[in-house]
Symmetry: C2
DNA sequence: CGAGACATGTAAGGGGTTACATGATTTA
DNA sequence: TAAATCATGTAACCCCTTACATGTCTCG
């Protein structure tokens, strides 16, 4: 029995969406999907599927020739775990965990910070627009809804930091 | 040379604000300050100051009698590290890391989720109001600004999930 | 005075981050 | 064809989480 982390569910979910995937596939997939609000270093995308396969949540199959890459697909057990997870209420409280906010809290110059953050968030909104524009047909609604949430939050962040820029000082 | 993590800076910052603090002081302090957007398990507040003291960023002094608790205060080295950190631009990109968003992404029932999240966020706004109401005089502006950011984001989240609740389905 | 809640602390294990390393492809 | 970039993978270390554990109040 291993413990299933959020990373585990991301991997399970992506493998299910993809049908079958190598770690590198996952990496590319993440970068244009959950990656926009939940980053995962690529090394995790090698370690985690392997762990999940050892515990029976994924099936692992190694290519015969060439790079002999490992190809993963979801098992019944994996599908079940994923379903139970989505059905269960979200236990953990959401945290902001924004490094910029930490610095603000501990006395960094607000206008300095605000300038950076405004630039970052504007770039991020651009990216979101790109992602929406290039989304493939036939996608389930979840990813798009999550993207909407990302946009909402980015806009809220922009409003906050812009207010700070305007404030006198 | 140890690596300074975000947790390190939180501890340094809080010790500096407090002047002198035991791990338990830090725990209480966190729960009414940074804790509202960046949670830290209390065990970290024992381990991390000890680590920082070993590396010279904090001074550690053990009480003579009684519980023989360890009392920490910041050193010149610690103060310098903290200042450099606040002055440095925030390198890491902000992430949402919201478990509810993950579930949404992977197909959880939006209305189900939305109901929970609306309740959570409303409670959170209540807490923010409490914190603001009971804030001590003479606090530096950083913490209050960070609190404002928390409020902004919570409101944005509320708006998002409420929209989901209203959506037909 | 007994029991529950709060205060205070430590240990172990694993997940994640950072760094390294080596093929394959493009581009100049 | 050299160099730079991308693709693909592995390894080690350490922070962080999840327990466990034992005082010390407080209130009925």
């Amino acid at each position: 029995m291993i413990r299933l982390t959020q990373t585990s569910y991301i991997v399970l979910g992506l493998v299910q969406l993809a049908g079958t995937a190598t770690p590198y596939d996952l990496k590319r997939f993440v970068s244009v999907s959950v990656g926009y609000f939940w980053a995962i270093p690529h090394s995790q995308l090698y370690a985690e599927p392997s762990r999940l396969a050892a515990a029976g949540y994924l099936k692992e199959k190694q290519e015969a020739g060439g790079r002999r890459r490992k190809v993963y697909s979801i098992t019944a057990k994996g599908r079940k775990a994923l379903e139970e997870w989505t059905a269960r209420p979200a236990e953990e409280r959401t945290e902001l965990r924004d490094p910029a906010l930490l610095k603000l809290f501990f006395g960094a110059d607000p206008r300095e910070l605000a300038r950076e953050q405004v630039a970052n968030l504007e770039a991020q909104l651009e990216e979101y627009a790109q992602i929406r524009a290039t989304a493939p047909e036939g996608l389930p609604p979840g990813p798009m809804l999550a993207l909407d949430a990302g946009v909402t939050h980015a806009r809220a962040g922009l409003a906050f930091w812009r207010r700070l820029l305007e404030g006198r000082s």
